[in-house]
């Protein structure tokens, strides 16, 4: 299940999805202050993405580092997409702690209680270990990850094989990587 669907079903995230591609209140107000007789090229003054992502969305008032973020000073397209996805999630009610843009082109938000885990199987070596699965990568919220690794994994590595592995009761949602990632272009409705 895509992460965005999962998050949308949660009680605390009941706000409607906002299309962040439309001009924001801030940019609209700014353009209205110009004198029509000043002979200024209004289009050149509308803050837009240098990477072709269009006008910037409004940064929510309670968004972390709001003053810095709304400068929209990002060195790479990936960083601007990270910020845009986080802002849209924030407006939907999901207050992420951070996000990572992975090699696979998907963005993985850092949310307490949510992890992205890639399982690996030992295929060679010690016969007693061959076939065992271990968490080859764990991504997400740091506190959640450390709790999950210490309490769920055997020896901090191996998937339990003889105990109840249903950790839903612990309140941790584990996506099997690459599930749970957000395609930023689809999510933000941006053209490729």
């Amino acid at each position: 299940m895509p992460l965005t669907e999962s998050l949308g079903s949660m009680e605390s995230r009941s706000q409607s999805v906002e299309d962040t591609s439309v001009p924001t209140e801030e940019t609209t107000t700014k353009t209205d202050t110009f004198d029509k007789n000043a002979n200024i090229d209004l289009a050149a003054d509308v803050p837009t993405s240098p990477f072709g992502f269009g006008p910037y969305p409004e940064v929510p008032a309670d968004y972390p580092f709001r003053e810095t973020v709304q400068l929209w000073d990002n060195a790479t397209p990936e960083h601007e997409l990270l910020v845009r996805v986080r802002i849209k999630l924030w407006k939907q009610g999901t207050q992420t702690k951070g996000a990572m843009f992975d090699n696979n082109g998907l963005i993985y938000p850092s949310i307490p209680g949510v992890l992205y885990v890639r399982w690996c199987t030992i295929e060679e070596g010690d016969p007693d270990l061959v076939g065992r699965r271990y968490a080859g990568s764990v991504m997400g919220d740091g506190d959640t990850a450390e709790k999950w690794e210490s309490s769920f994994l055997i020896d901090g590595w191996y998937e339990p094989i003889d105990v109840n592995s249903d950790i839903a009761a612990s309140g941790i949602k584990v996506y099997e990587y690459p599930d749970g990632g957000i395609n930023p272009y689809n999510f933000l409705e941006l053209p490729r």
């Binding site: 004198d35 580092f65 810095t68 960083h79 070596g125 271990y134 919220d141």
Partner: protein, 361 residues
Amino acid sequence: MKLSSVLLLIIFSSILFVRAVSDISAAAAVDGPYTIEASAYRVNTANVKLYASARCEEVRTKNGKFTFILQRDEDLDKQIENWQQFEIYNQENSHGTKFIDGSFYVKYKKNFPSTEYGYKVKSIVSGEATDGTRYGTSVDDKVGEIPILEPIPNFTATLAHATGSDYFATAGDTHEAVLTTNRSYYDVMWYVKAPGDTSEKGTNVETDSGNTLLTEVTLSYTFPDGVAGEYIITAVVREAADASTQELNYNVSVTLPPGLYRTTPYSFSLYGLGETLDFLVIADSPYNEVNWYLKKKDTTGLGTWLYANSGSDAETEGTFSYTFSSENGIEPYTDYILTARVERNSDNTNYNLTYEVNIGP
């Protein structure tokens, strides 16, 4: 537009510009701390584990990223862009650059087969900006850690009494033997060889599986009542990776409880007329004399005196051998009581120890 309006616009724009420069400077100041970790170690002769992790807190840079690289020692001088050639991760999609914003945790683990020794694994987890400047406050070096896989030592095991080197026990006591290994073991077979046992290692009393993860195991064994002498406790341990075995043992001197004299065995059943039986008395302190008497079971008193062991200051054992023959007046299908009367040296007290002998045809 009036001149005053133009001036106001210029002033307002200047204020915005100054504010923007100020915020850019502030952007560097709000870069949060991050921590990086990396480690590699050998789990057994066949497998090596390594991991690398990065955790950042409230990082807000315009271009922050983490780069994960894991290399073998012969590759340490290669450039970052050559990481695809490296053996450990060349088949994995779990490395490279991750762009991050805010707080995030990434950890990569690898359990890979390796029987080589003595090489290094270099794990690099770096957080830096695309222009090469580093961010974060806790690390000023790109190398998280350089674990070294030392040449793996031979599999060794030690066996000892749980409470130390006091290898003495009393019959009836529970004894704990602790086996420790420098690497995980596959299983341990425990043997106990009791006094008089003529087999090589004695009886297999327990087998413990190490499940390839454990390096210590304890055997609890209770020495039987009334049996004194030298016991041998043996552990045969199989190493997890290559199933090589090591055998270790030690002796435990088992004595009888203080203040009592015991004998072993207690009874002799259905022996044929004419057979010769051996009897043994073991004392916990020297005796003056042991006198041996024989009577029919249904009679009173000690019976007929047969033999005496003369003691000394150090003698604690007395033996007696007797032939239950018709020449000695023994009757078939009759029960006899043999008594060893022991006079203890320390207090000149006599103790009677009896054996029941059942004679058959």
